[in-house]
Structure formats: C-alpha cells, structure tokens
C-alpha cells in the first residue's frame, strides 16, 4: 500500500517526534487523519462518533509513540489503535443505541465499470452495509480493510494481530456470507 518513500518519511517523523519535535506529530496527524476518519466512519456510521474516535486514536498514538518499537509500519499501528477504539466505542456507546440505518446522506454512488453491478441504488448500499455489520468483528474488519483501505493480507494480519492465512480465511468467510445473504 505504501511505497518506500512514505515508510521512510514515517520513520523520519517518528524520530523527529522522539527528539521532542511536536511538529512531527502534527505532520503525522495531517497525513493520516483523513484515512482514519473515513475508516472509523465506515465502522461506526456516525459522524460524531467517528470524530471522537479519530481524535482518541491520535491521542493514544501520541501517548504510545514514545514506546513504539517500529516492529510494524506506522500506518498499520495507527489502524490497529483506530480499530480497537472503534470496537470499544461501539460496545460502550453505540450498542445500547445501535444505528441501524446507514446514513446514506453521506454516500455517493460513484460510476462503476463493473459488468455485474449489484449495488444499483442507495437502498442496495444500505442493505449490503447491514449485512457487513452483522459479520463477526474479525471478518468485518478484515473485509473492510481489504476492500476500502486496500491493505494487503500481510498488513491486515499486522493490524489484526493474526496470521496471513487467518486474514485470508476471515476474508473468504466474510465474502461467502455477504454473497449468501445478498442472494436471499
């Protein structure tokens, strides 16, 4: 997903931050806040919740960056924090008041070249998004990271903390369930 130059610049930003340069952290926020916001928005389907979780993600990143060992890429590290935050936020705040309808006002159907178009209307998007929501956490997250974030299975495995094969199997099961549910 990332080229070498981006990775280098991440490590440069981290080392600058560790040397006490807060502007480096500001650059990290600039670089990743859009991705994290849209990821959390897709997960939580609530703008306020997504803003809250995105901010919390960067706060946790700031607190943990001092002990970041660099074993994984910075962006997979941020994704991991964001996904854990989403999970916690969902269980604490949203589960008692679940948002059942995808806020389609935020969505646009872009033109697709797919010859076998499934999602023709906004109602179709709502339906498929509800199917995705019903998936178990691991399957849902794997599916979303692959489809929306275009992460490789190795990166997904890093974010989720399991093996590449587990990522692949979770993705496969998620796809099978979605297609099966869609066909009903």
């Amino acid at each position: 997903m990332k080229d070498t130059k981006d990775n280098l610049s991440d490590s440069f930003l981290i080392s600058e931050f560790l040397n006490g340069d807060d502007d480096a952290f500001s650059s990290i926020v600039d670089k990743y806040q859009r991705k994290i916001y849209y990821l959390t928005l897709r997960f939580l389907k609530n703008e306020e919740a997504a803003q809250e979780v995105t901010q919390e993600t960067f706060i946790k990143l700031y607190q943990n960056l001092k002990v970041f060992k660099g074993k994984s890429n910075l962006y997979t590290y941020i994704y991991r924090i964001a996904i854990n935050n989403c999970k916690n936020y969902y269980h604490k705040e949203l589960k008692s008041n679940p948002i059942s309808i995808y806020d389609i006002g935020q969505l646009e159907l872009a033109s697709s070249n797919s010859p076998f178009k499934i999602l023709k209307t906004k109602e179709d998007i709502t339906r498929v998004s509800e199917i995705i929501d019903r998936l178990p956490h691991k399957q849902k997250t794997t599916f979303m990271l692959r489809v929306f974030e275009d992460l490789s299975f190795k990166e997904i495995a890093n974010v989720m903390g399991f093996s590449i094969n587990s990522a692949l199997v979770n993705y496969h099961i998620a796809i099978k369930k979605i297609i099966k549910e869609w066909g009903k």
Partner: protein, 216 residues
C-alpha cells in the same frame, strides 16, 4: 443450483488478480499469488461451472461496487478543526498527566529488563524501609510495650511475681503482692537455679527504665 466444492479461496485469489492493478497485486503477499498453472485450472473450471461463475461475478461486483461507494469529502476547515481538537485534548491530558503515567511510560521505554528489576526492587526496599522506620522509631514511642500504661506494667510485674511465687515460694497471690519489692526482682546467683527468663529480664529492665524516667 448445487454449490460447487471448488476452493473458493482460489477463486478469490483469481478475482483479486483480475481486480487489482499490477502494482497493487505485486505489492500483495505471496499468499495471494497464483501461478500460471493454477490460473489455467481456475479459468477452465469457471467456464464449466455455473455455480463458481456466479460466485466469481458476485464477488467482483460486490468489491468493485463497494469501493465505488464514496463518502462525501470534508472541507479543509473540518480537518483543521479535527487537528486542533486533537492538540487541545492532548494539552488537557498533559495537564492531568499523573506521575504514575510518567512512570509507566518510563518503564515501557526501558529495553533492559535488569534496569527495570533494579528500579523495582530499589523502590520496594525503600517502601519497606520507610514503613519500618515509621513503625519502630529508635527514640520514639513505638517500641514494643511502650504503648502500655503504668498500670499495665504493674500488672505484668505482678504476674511476674506470681510466677516466681508459684515456682519457688508456694505462697498465694495475695501474699505475693504483699511481699517486699525484692521478691519481684529475684536475680538468682545460681545459674542452675535461674528462674528469670529473657522475657522476665525485659520486664525488669522496663521497670528500671520507668523508675529512671520518674526520677528525672
């Protein structure tokens, strides 16, 4: 339609090969790669199996269509506000940052386990020393038995006297109490005949100390 037993993971890999551009595909993990032989097998199978063909098309459509569902872009003000909120909340947290948090961070940042063990054991040693110094002040009032009142000490001495009496004198308690003070400090010169236990010695020293303090 009967569901085909053909490995759907292989179908997904093939679909990903078709879906992703060559750069993204090259970046992908080896787990996703399929060789030409496998690719030919899948293509042959897809031609002859309607069930797998349906799955393959549904998969492609689902993923492509979902990727094309865009969330509305936010303007630059939104991102500026978001960043400002992050820094605002960070400064609030920094203000509230406790010593404990700093210690935790320091511990997490230490790579050498021996340093961690050394610091932890020093801290525990300090805590124990501090506790003991409070409990047993050398010139304070916290020595054992010093919390006892004068009457308590008298009672101990009476008990001491009774003990002596029951062992050697054969007199009752009343008689013992009436005896002269010599009786309650019966230091025998004969070692074999010694009836003074270390405990008794301590009580007697305590009495002496009490008298000394009283004389001052």
């Amino acid at each position: 339609m009967m569901e085909c037993k053909f490995n759907k993971i292989e179908l997904i890999k093939y679909a990903e090969l078709k879906r992703r551009d060559s750069f993204a595909y090259a970046q992908d993990d080896s787990a996703m790669l399929i060789d030409n032989e496998k690719k030919n097998i899948i293509e042959q199978h897809l031609k002859s199996c309607p069930s797998c063909q349906e799955f393959f098309e549904a998969y492609q459509s689902l993923v492509v269509d979902l990727k094309n569902v865009k969330l509305k872009e936010k303007d630059e003000d939104f991102w500026a506000e978001m960043k400002a909120s992050v820094f605002e909340r960070l400064s609030e947290k920094e203000m509230k940052s406790t010593l404990l948090t700093k210690i935790k961070l320091w511990f997490a940042s230490q790579k050498n386990i021996f340093v961690k063990i050394l610091v932890t054991s020093s801290f525990v040693f300090f805590l124990i020393s501090f506790y003991l110094s409070i409990q047993y002040k050398p010139n304070g009032n916290n020595l054992p038995f010093t919390h006892l009142s004068d009457s308590d000490i008298d009672m101990m001495l009476i008990y001491n006297g009774k003990y002596i009496e029951s062992q050697n004198l054969g007199t009752d308690k009343t008689e013992q109490l009436d005896e002269s003070p010599d009786l309650i400090s019966p230091v025998s010169t004969d070692k074999n005949d010694s009836i003074i236990s270390p405990e008794d010695e301590f009580y007697l020293e305590l009495l002496n100390a009490k008298e000394l303090i009283a004389s001052l």
